[in-house]
């Protein structure tokens, strides 16, 4: 039974998409069968896996509104042996429709029911806001992975996010576990990054994953070629770090 992992943080630009895409590719390299679901109208994860987001006839938007089954919108074997359900600007319109629907937060969970056993891991890339799209992901997920950029504003937002997670566990999804806080864009030479990293560990202890993703420009270059870091530059620090992350999660979450 595949583990559903939501990659979320309402702080923008902390590495959610970069983590979702490259962790998916790393899991695939380690022999796992992976589905990536893009829940962000920006469609960054879709594009990063080499899919032309604006040419898709079916996206996660159609699935959430019940226009088609998840299988119909799934692009098998996109880049890096990862199956993808894409997103594009249409998804912005889902917010109002989902808000007005009483079961609006449970659409994704329902859509995933029949496909969970086809995959080892289902990763969900979330937009930078605690809206109906992110709530759908948190309601459907077994685990939550929170990328935290090693900078001040990102650190500031983690406590508020942990409060939201508690509300979700009480009202929407009691089975939601925190798979971990992931330090991203960490630059060892930079005092700020080291201070923030130390502060995270002292506040959140074991909830902070051991793997640290370093700042590595190859990670920022790869998406412009529609490739994961594993395909773009498998020897880079970024690729090594995401493989280490995949192994850490396989060990800890028995994937």
């Amino acid at each position: 039974m595949g583990r559903v992992i939501a990659v979320a943080n309402q702080k923008g630009g902390v590495g959610k998409t970069t983590t979702a895409v490259n962790l998916a590719a790393a899991f695939a390299r380690l022999g796992k069968k992976i589905l990536m679901i893009d829940m962000d109208p920006q469609g960054n994860a879709t594009v990063a896996l080499g899919v032309e987001k604006d040419e898709l006839s079916l996206t996660i938007y159609d699935v959430l509104l019940g226009e088609c089954k998840l299988n119909a919108a799934t692009i098998d074997e996109a880049q890096s042996a990862v199956a993808v359900v894409g997103a594009n600007g249409d998804l912005t319109a889902a917010e109002v429709t989902l808000t007005e629907d009483e079961a609006g937060t449970l659409k994704l969970k329902k859509a995933l029911k029949k496909v969970r056993k086809k995959y080892d891991v289902i990763l969900i890339d979330c937009p930078p806001t605690l809206n109906m799209l992110t709530l759908n992901a948190l309601a459907a997920a077994d685990g939550l992975l929170v990328p935290v950029q090693c900078e001040y504003f990102a650190l500031e937002g983690v406590a508020a996010l942990m409060d939201t997670v508690e509300v979700v566990q009480e009202n929407l999804n009691p089975d939601l576990a925190l798979d971990g806080l992931l330090r991203t864009m960490h630059d060892r030479r930079n005092n700020l990054a080291n201070d923030v990293s130390n502060e995270l560990v002292s506040h959140f202890g074991m909830k902070v994953l051991q793997t640290i993703i370093p700042r590595n420009v190859r990670l920022a270059e790869a998406p412009s070629y529609g490739e994961s870091i594993l395909d773009y530059d498998a020897k880079s620090n970024g690729a090594v770090a995401y493989l280490a992350l995949a192994n850490e999660l396989i060990r800890k979450r028995k994937i």
Copy 2:
């Protein structure tokens, strides 16, 4: 009559808050009277200007819901001689209320009417999503300033944002002008940043501001002290760049 400038981009982490806060402080250094409005539930701009966001009795949330006038929620002379209307997590609840209200996108514009003549510039920091909070800012604004991080995903999102701006100009605010696209976190040593910068200029020409904000760790350190870059390190590359930006906008927009 003060110019209202919205700082917006649905891409997360591109430097919206850093730009709004430090441009406000730079304008104040140049003798302008400035009001900063934080429209992001994260409250990063509020905190960056030294205000304890969770101790505020009145915030922009109360103003938007008509509970008080803008003046009542204004903290005069916070850091750097900038007046602030703060935000905190309460603001998340405004989205549903504003969506259900027919005049939901015009609340901020209405609230600003009486105070515009008190200031030379009113800056609005927007959240990383095209929701009712951002639409309120775009409806109330005279000009839009779009920070664009010199990386691939940020470049990808600009065209979609320009489409949204056209829709806003046609339906909500015909007077909204584009004050410019601002290149942020630019690192001259990095090919990706130079490629993205060149691509922006070739696509958008004169819409791209001449001032480029360099990547400068002092900008990321300043908010943890609740200070703008002008107070934290006035000689840093970041401070110099934001002063240059203020001067460029004063010249071009006759502020």
